[in-house]
C-alpha cells in the first residue's frame, strides 16, 4: 500500500511483481539545463542545500571553482567547470563550460535495476527516480548500477543519497527549488515535451550564434532522461567535464541483474527438488551390513 496515491510508482527496486499502475496517464516531467545560459553561480547548489536541509563541510580550494569538489551525501548537485578552447568562425575561442552535475533521472534507471532492497529506489509515474532511505540497506549496488556515477553513500548512516528532483515539492505542484532560483533561467521545468520544444528553440538560437553542433542531450542509451541538457557542443559531451557520450547501464550490471539471477534461483531450487525426486525415485543406497550388492561381494571375499 503506497501512501503516495497522487504520484504513482512506475517501477520499484527489487520487486518482481508490478507496482500499482492504474493511473499511468500522468504528465512526464523533465528538468532542462541550458548550459549555454548557465553562469555557474551555484544558486542551484545553495537552493538545493537549503530546501533539503543539507550542509556539507567547508572544504578547501584545490585550484578550481568546483566547490564542493564532488557530489557527496550532503551535496546532491555540484557545478563542474571546464575551460576549453574551441574553434569558432573567428578562429580559436576560449569557452568556460559550466555543467550542473547531478542525478539524470533516467527512464531506465541503472540504480533501480541494481538495487537488492525492495522499495529502496522507486521511479514515479512522472519520471522522478527517488531514494526511499528507510528501505536502503547501504550496500552500494546503486553506485555500480548508475552510468553517471551519481549516488553517494553516507558514512554516517550508510544510506544512499542523490538529487530527488524535489519530489516533495513536485508532488504538491511546486517546481524544484533549483529551478525556481536559477537567476538566468538556465534551468527550466515542465513536461518533457515542453522542455524538448524549449530546448529546440535554444538550439536554433545557438546555431545562429555560431555553435554549429548545438544540440539536446537526452541519451536513449538509458531510455532518455528526465534531466536534459542543451549543449553548445552536443557532438562532444565529454568536454563538459566528461559527461558520458553514450551512457548505458553497464553490461556487467544487466547480466548480473538481468535474467541470470532468476535462472540461478530456479537452478538452485531445481537442484534441491531434483535431489528430492531422485531420492524418491531411485531410493537411497542402503547401509545394511550384509545384503547390499557391493557389500555382499566384499564380504564373500574376506569370509572365505
Amino acid at each position: 500500500m503506497s501512501s503516495l496515491q497522487s504520484l504513482d510508482i512506475a517501477a520499484r527496486s527489487a520487486t518482481t511483481t508490478p507496482t500499482p499502475q492504474a493511473r499511468e496517464h500522468v504528465v512526464e516531467v523533465a528538468k532542462l539545463i541550458d548550459v549555454s545560459s548557465c553562469i555557474g553561480c551555484k544558486a542551484c547548489q545553495v537552493a538545493c542545500m537549503e530546501w533539503n536541509d543539507l550542509r556539507d563541510e567547508v572544504g578547501h580550494n584545490a585550484g578550481t571553482y568546483d566547490n564542493p569538489r564532488d557530489l557527496t551525501p550532503q551535496s546532491w548537485t555540484v557545478m563542474r567547470y571546464s575551460e576549453v578552447v574551441m574553434p569558432s568562425n573567428e578562429g580559436e575561442r576560449l569557452e568556460w563550460l559550466i555543467r550542473k552535475d547531478g542525478c539524470m533521472h533516467c527512464a531506465d534507471p541503472g540504480c533501480l535495476k541494481a538495487c537488492p532492497a525492495p522499495g529502496a529506489i522507486v521511479k514515479y509515474e512522472n519520471g522522478i527516480v527517488d531514494f526511499i532511505s528507510e528501505h536502503c540497506i547501504g550496500c552500494g549496488y546503486c553506485v555500480k548500477g548508475c552510468p553517471f556515477d551519481v549516488p553517494r553513500i553516507s558514512k554516517k548512516d550508510d544510506k544512499a543519497y542523490k538529487c530527488s528532483l524535489c519530489a516533495d515539492r513536485v508532488s504538491v505542484g511546486l517546481e524544484p527549488a533549483c529551478v525556481k532560483t536559477c537567476p538566468t533561467g538556465a534551468i527550466r521545468f515542465g513536461s518533457k515535451e515542453d522542455m524538448h520544444e524549449f530546448a529546440a528553440e535554444r538550439v536554433v538560437d545557438l546555431k545562429e550564434r555560431g555553435y554549429a553542433n548545438a544540440g539536446v542531450y537526452d541519451p536513449q542509451g538509458v531510455g532518455g532522461t528526465h534531466v536534459m541538457y542543451v549543449l553548445q557542443h552536443a557532438d562532444k559531451p565529454q568536454i563538459y567535464n566528461n559527461l558520458p557520450a553514450d551512457p548505458t547501464i553497464s553490461p556487467m550490471v544487466s547480466l548480473w541483474k538481468g535474467v541470470t539471477k532468476p535462472l540461478a534461483v530456479a537452478a538452485m531450487i531445481g537442484a534441491a527438488l531434483a535431489g528430492f525426486f531422485h531420492y524418491m525415485k531411485v531410493g537411497p543406497i542402503e547401509d545394511e551390513d550384509d545384503d547390499g550388492p557391493g557389500e555382499r561381494r566384499a564380504t564373500e571375499e574376506e569370509t572365505r
Binding site: 527489487a14 520487486t15 518482481t16 537488492p116 532492497a117 525492495p118 528501505h135 540497506i137 547501504g138 550496500c139 552500494g140 549496488y141 553506485v143 555500480k144 556515477d149 553513500i153 558514512k155 550508510d158 553497464s250 556487467m252 550490471v253 547480466l255 548480473w256 541470470t260 539471477k261 532468476p262 540461478a264 534461483v265 537452478a267 538452485m268 537442484a271 534441491a272 535431489g275 531422485h278 531420492y279 531411485v282 531410493g283 537411497p284 543406497i285 542402503e286 547401509d287 545394511e288 551390513d289 550384509d290 547390499g292 550388492p293 557391493g294 557389500e295 566384499a298 564380504t299
Partner: protein, 206 residues
C-alpha cells in the same frame, strides 16, 4: 553391534560443522541480496541493513574455517585417472547401479569435485567480496572493477550453493554417510561398499 571404522577425527568434524553453520548464515544472508524473492531471509538477521553488515563477516569466518578443513583433506582429494573413470560411470551410479564403479579411495571423484569447487568458489568469493565491501573498502576500487567483482561474486555464490546442495544430497542419498560427520565413524559395510580401497587401507593398519 555393527563394527565401525573411524573416518573423521573430532577436530575435523567440529571444523566441518563450523564451516557448514557459517555457510548457512552466509548463504541465507547472501541469498537475501541475491534475488528479491528471497529478501525475506534478511529478517533472520534483523533486517536488510544487518544482513548487509553481517554477510561479509559470515563469509570471512566461513572461508577462515574452510582453510583449516581444506588443509586436512586436500591430499586425499588430488585428482587421479581413476577419478575420471569414476566420473564417466557416475551416470550409472545415479541410477543406483554401483557395481560398475571403479574402486575408490577415501574420496570418490564426486566428493573431490565438490571440494575443489568449494575451494575455488570460496576463493573467488573472498577476493571479489573485498572489492565492494562497504564501508571499509568503499573508495578503494574503481566502479568498473566493482561491477566485474559483483558479477563474479554472484556466479561464485551460485556455484557454491549448487555444489553444497549436491554435497548435502549425496550425504543423505548414500545412507550411513551422515554419521561419518556426525559421529566420526562409519560401518565397515559402508566402507567396504563405497570406499573399498580406503577400507583395505584402514584394515591394513588395523
Amino acid at each position: 553391534m555393527k563394527r565401525t571404522i573411524v573416518r573423521y577425527q573430532d577436530s575435523t568434524r567440529i571444523n566441518h560443522w563450523f564451516v557448514a553453520l557459517l555457510f548457512v548464515f552466509a548463504g541465507l544472508s547472501g541469498l537475501a541480496l541475491f534475488h528479491p524473492s528471497m529478501f525475506f531471509f534478511s529478517n533472520l538477521f534483523g533486517g536488510g541493513s544487518w544482513t548487509r553488515i553481517l554477510h561479509p563477516y559470515f563469509g570471512l569466518l566461513m572461508v577462515f574455517g574452510f582453510v583449516f578443513l581444506f588443509l586436512q583433506v586436500w591430499r586425499e582429494n588430488i585428482w587421479t585417472r581413476n577419478d575420471t573413470e569414476w566420473i564417466r560411470n557416475s551416470e550409472k551410479l545415479l541410477r543406483g547401479d554401483e557395481e560398475h564403479m571403479p574402486p575408490v579411495g577415501k574420496y570418490n571423484a564426486g566428493q573431490k569435485a565438490v571440494v575443489w569447487v568449494f575451494a575455488v568458489s570460496l576463493l573467488v568469493l573472498l577476493i571479489t567480496g573485498f572489492m565492494f565491501w562497504r564501508p571499509w573498502f568503499d573508495g578503494v576500487f574503481p566502479i568498473v572493477l566493482q561491477r566485474v567483482a559483483v558479477l563474479l561474486h554472484a556466479l561464485a555464490a551460485f556455484a557454491l550453493v549448487l555444489s553444497v546442495i549436491i554435497h548435502v544430497y549425496a550425504a543423505i542419498w548414500v545412507k550411513g554417510s551422515v554419521r561419518a560427520m556426525t559421529r566420526g565413524t562409519v560401518t565397515e559395510g559402508w566402507a567396504r561398499r563405497h570406499h573399498p580401497l580406503w577400507y583395505k587401507e584402514m584394515r591394513g593398519e588395523k
